[in-house]
Amino acid sequence: MTNVIEAEQRSFMTGNEVVAWAALAAGAEFMYGYPITPQNEIMHYWTRLAPKFKRGFLQTEDELSAGFATLGGVMAGRKSFCATAGPGNVLMQEPISMAEMMRIPAVWFIQQRGGPSTATVIYSQQETRLTCLGGNGEGNRLVYSTASHQEVFDYAIKAFNNAWNYRFPTFVLGDGYQAKMREAVTLYDPAQRGIELHGTSRMLGRSSKQLDGQQVRHYRNTFNIEEELYETLMQHIADWDHMAEEVVEWAWEGDEEPDLLLVAHGVVSRAVYAAYEHLKSAGYNVAYFRPITLRPFPVAALQRAAGRCRQLLVAESAYGQLLSLVRDSLYGKTCAPIEGLLRPGLGITEELVVEWAQRLLARVG
């Protein structure tokens, strides 16, 4: 495979462009897609770049088939991915559920837009719950929530590697801001950073010679008996739990017994981190926590961060989707009140977080 990035390169580009470069650098071989704003430019850039590096692209007739075609690509042994947003993400939950059931390591890039339905083409964090738990199963997925272009690049590489390593559908969850804004990013060849790219193998279509003594596997999506399904699922859940311990990620900074713990994910965590620094330098006793993996959620880490805090503020561009994950994690572990700064479909600024935080801090004075 041609080397995509010869030397480390500092570039200034949109997040959608970063996704295309990251997928190339991660060794992705095929993208399947169907247009929807704000992820269209992922497809545009990929189709421009892919031929130069002998990679492929197929636009299907809708999101359902784009999702299923991605699974087909993976089953044929190709590192395949898909990108979508909003209603497209809703439609893709069926192929994503199949990927959970059949343990197909497909990778999705989600650029959240306003919801429900068509809503806005701009931005939100309203696909948090959908991306984590949207299927008709248990949410056996890996979901990274990125906050900057550099993270989009870094976690895209990680997403492909962990998908093929653990064989669960894997997501890089971005949003319209990250998709459309321009900022600096360092593009690099993973090998030069000592990151080994995970290999691929065919799930279907191997000749008896290629099988080389291995047993033929039957990838099942349908079960006749309750117990059969139960046993299969419990094995998947055990595998997922094992993966969870190895891949779970978060960021935590600040006092261990804060008057206020600020919690956010994705691009909102940038506003919240800036607010945290502002409050800290103003002499407040505060802390900052950000889940980087939303599935698995960093439950134990959040419990430690929140164990001795006096109150929490959860900020998100949705109406309680992160908040419910936080509450679930902390049930029975803290008596601290949990407030929500909830702005469905609307961006959150540093100034707004500071204002809310100061009001809450005045309360515990």
Binding site: F12, V121, M181, R182, E183, R270, A274, E351
Partner: protein
């Protein structure tokens, strides 16, 4: 020049080249080794065809792409003035278009059009009005510092001396001279990089853009000098 974190809002009618101003500012800052974010078209102020570019430039890593108050505010039409009032603080550099030439306006009554959606050209032409407009001066009661409020008749200069299409580059030069956010040399480099292919194919256009940038810069520098000498 020593200010650490610049928050910039440029707003105007679709077709005035607002987004390009934002893109060139951000690209230039990046090339000068600074941190920069550019984000297009957000907020209620964009309703009905007003185009907004938000840029941040700093020496340190940047936080959220959205912000509440602007250090530099550049509204280029009457509607853009109204819709960006919330970004004003006392020490905002307010750079406005002082010509009486009205840009075509996408009318507010045109519903369902969003900046990123593909719109049929005929939908645009039906929605464009052409009423004359007053300069995009700041409202008197906003408490702005007078020496930070600078008007430039960029549309008139563009029409009389250059070409109407470089209106936005004249504004860009004016922004630099008024605020000192980046040096002229930094932005010359950023502009040439941003418009690279286009300008390489057309050396005349390259000269036109460089002259427009200089002209905007010179006009405001001279205006500021006259003001201080008075």
């Amino acid at each position: 020049m020593n200010k650490k974190h610049w928050r910039i809002v440029v707003a105007g009618e679709g077709g005035q080249g607002v987004q390009l101003i934002g893109e060139i500012l951000a690209e230039s800052a990046f090339r000068a080794g600074k941190e920069a974010i550019y984000i297009p078209n957000f907020g209620v102020e964009q309703r009905g065809g007003v185009s907004i570019a938000m840029v941040q430039i700093a020496e340190q890593a940047l936080g959220a792409p959205k912000f509440e108050k602007a250090d530099i505010l550049v509204p280029l039409s009457e509607r853009a003035v109204e819709r960006t009032l919330a970004y004003i603080k006392r020490d905002t550099f307010y750079i406005y278009e002082a010509s009486a030439i009205a840009p075509p306006q996408l009318l507010d009554a045109t519903v369902g059009i969003q900046a990123w959606e593909t719109v049929a050209p005929e939908a645009f032409s039906l929605a464009v009005g052409s009423k004359p407009q007053a300069p995009s001066r700041p409202p008197a009661d906003m408490g702005l510092m007078p020496d930070r409020t600078i008007g430039i008749p960029a549309a008139e200069i563009a029409r009389a001396e250059l070409k109407p299409r470089v209106f936005n580059i004249i504004i860009l030069g004016a922004i630099l001279a008024a605020s000192g956010v980046l040096s002229l040399a930094m932005v010359q480099e950023g502009m040439l990089a941003k418009l690279g292919d286009k300008l390489r194919r057309d050396p005349e256009l390259k000269q036109l853009n460089l002259r427009a940038l200089d002209r905007g810069w010179a006009y405001v520098t001279e205006a500021v000098r006259r003001e201080t000498n008075r």
